[in-house]
């Protein structure tokens, strides 16, 4: 098993955190994992992306040019990464702010209205967890239990009261995928 994933969007959308939670879930599941962020000035306001690779054998390159799965959260990232999804791969995007939707027909494209769903959440910061829930429903690469365990490990203890709202967001995301 090997899953090569790019998650890309605006800085501040929780792109890197989402990748981190996924990486921790993989750790809980005893998989090999690499998490390689774009780092630097793009983190505030510009575009941010992270490459996450999960595998059951050692991972060579943490840097890639084509991906099994792309999770796309803004237009710039869609323009940049739509062409880099492997044929037969998966592209998940949130249509909020997207004016040129994906056009490829040789990949599986899923539209997930995560931003819209965020407005119905008790905690509006749950956007990235909604997206992660949708990703895991479409590509169940790690069990939800591992994500929750991973989340508990990444969150400092003083934030552990936020675990239920994160789980709520995760499950909401899963329910968005029909």
């Amino acid at each position: 098993m090997k899953e090569e994933i790019i998650i890309a969007g605006f800085g501040g959308q929780g792109v890197l955190s989402m990748g981190k939670i996924l990486a921790y879930a993989a750790l809980m599941d005893d998989l090999e994992v690499t998490w390689m962020p774009s780092y630097g000035p793009e983190q505030r306001g510009g575009t941010a992306n992270v490459t996450v690779i999960l595998a059951d054998s050692p991972i060579s390159s943490p840097v890639l040019d084509s991906y099994d799965t792309a999770v796309i959260l803004n237009q710039q990232s869609l323009d940049k990464f739509e062409g880099k999804v492997k044929p037969g791969g998966t592209l998940i995007y949130d249509p909020y702010g997207i004016h040129r939707p994906p056009t490829r027909t040789d990949i599986n494209v899923y539209r997930v209205d995560a931003m819209e769903a965020t407005f119905g959440l008790s905690n509006s910061k749950g956007f990235n967890m909604i997206v992660l829930g949708a990703l895991l429903k479409i590509k169940p690469m790690v069990p939800v239990e591992s994500v929750l365990k991973g989340l508990k490990k990444t969150l400092p203890e003083r934030h552990h009261h936020l675990l239920p709202v994160n789980e709520e967001a995760l499950r909401l995301g899963m329910s968005l995928v029909k």
Partner: protein, 365 residues
């Protein structure tokens, strides 16, 4: 006991490994892409547990001179920075080498020259390996390609530095500093006591007790005849290091028709392109120097007589290739270079395309 597997950035791994090794002091100044080393140390507050000193100095120059002072007392001390900051430290590094002091310096390289970019690069190879400061000295240079090696090389770097009384350097890059991977941290051990330091480092300025002769630690020697003797002693140490401490890792070299040579994170990218090539039946192997100095020249010489061609891949304009060519001198094996500069990281497809440009026609026969 269950292994303590964690997920963390390479920079964070260095900080945790330093605390667990029992490092006495860290002196640094923030610079991307290695600031997490200082940040993690500050967050962990080891001064409350092991007694380790963590100090954000007023500048890189101050930090390396604090290392110089700490090392003079036999303490395990370190600093870290990224390319422009490492340039500032060169005077201090030369002094450490000339005074025969153990210390660990970490360079998480970014694109240069000048202030350059904050993105990954390997353009400080010459500086690290050929002596960035003045004078005939060498650094033991370790090139990690994984977060695990970032953690492991802290202990290795210090052990070698103390064994040979010479500074060592971890030469990493922005990829291995910033990426998160699984890591098993070494078991924690206490810092050495004053008695242990006095026993291990009889040369150190630990305070005169019992009427021993004063230990004078200086890089200054006005008598050239003595300075030449000092240099001869340094060179004997360097020869011993070259004999004993060469480290490298080979991948698929047993049946390889071609060889890639790469260090650090780019070696991982090469490995992926080699996997892709092997799927097409093209047998490429990889030699990854772990010590950039001492350089694995003998092994490269051996492989150069076996393969039909070599590609040296670096995040620079072509630096390590000079040492590869020296190692392969006397053979007529073609050796090419592929590199990206300024913080641009090639992907595995690009590396494979570079290989095919040079060897594509003959390798597919």
């Amino acid at each position: 006991m269950e292994e303590d597997v964690r997920l963390m950035k390479g920079n964070e791994a260095i900080a945790h490994a330093a605390i667990r090794y029992g490092v006495d002091g860290y002196f640094g100044y923030p610079i991307t892409p290695q600031s997490e080393i200082l940040e993690t140390l500050e967050a962990e507050m080891p001064w409350e547990t092991t007694g380790m000193v963590v100090l954000q100095a007023e500048s890189e120059v101050a930090a390396i001179n604090m290392v110089y002072g700490g090392a003079s007392t036999g303490k395990a001390v370190m600093t870290s920075s990224s390319s422009p900051g490492i340039s500032l430290k060169q005077e201090g590094i030369s002094y450490l080498a000339a005074t025969e002091l153990p210390a660990l310096i970490v360079n998480v390289m970014r694109g240069g020259p000048g202030l350059g970019t904050i993105h990954p690069s390997q353009s400080d190879y010459f500086q690290a390996v050929k002596g960035g400061g003045h004078g005939d000295y060498r650094l033991i240079v370790l090139a990690p390609s994984s977060v695990q090696e970032m953690a492991d090389f802290v202990a290795l770097g210090f052990d070698l530095a103390f064994k040979y009384r010479t500074p060592s350097m971890i030469l990493a890059d922005g990829i291995v500093g910033q990426m998160m991977e699984k890591v098993v941290l070494p078991p924690a051990r206490p810092r050495r006591t004053a008695e242990q330091i006095a026993e291990q480092c009889p040369w150190a300025a630990t305070g005169r007790r019992g009427g021993r002769k004063p230990n004078v630690l200086t890089s200054l020697e006005l008598d050239s005849a003595v300075m030449e003797k000092n240099n001869e002693r340094f060179q004997r140490t360097y020869s011993e290091i070259e004999r004993n401490e060469v480290r490298y890792q080979e991948y698929f070299t047993d049946d390889a028709d071609y060889l890639m040579v790469a260090f650090g994170s780019i070696a991982r990218i090469c490995l992926k392109s080699i996997e892709m090539a092997r799927a097409q039946g093209i047998k490429i192997g990889l030699l990854r120097p772990i010590t950039l100095w001492p350089f694995p020249s003998a092994e490269i010489a051996r492989l150069s007589r076996k393969v039909k061609g070599m590609l040296v891949v670096e995040l620079n304009a072509g630096q390590m290739i000079e040492d590869v060519k020296l190692a392969a001198a006397g053979t007529d094996v073609p050796i090419y270079h592929f590199g990206r500069m300024g913080g641009i990281v090639p992907n595995p497809d690009e590396v494979l395309a570079a290989f095919m440009k040079h060897f594509g026609n003959e390798s597919q026969k």
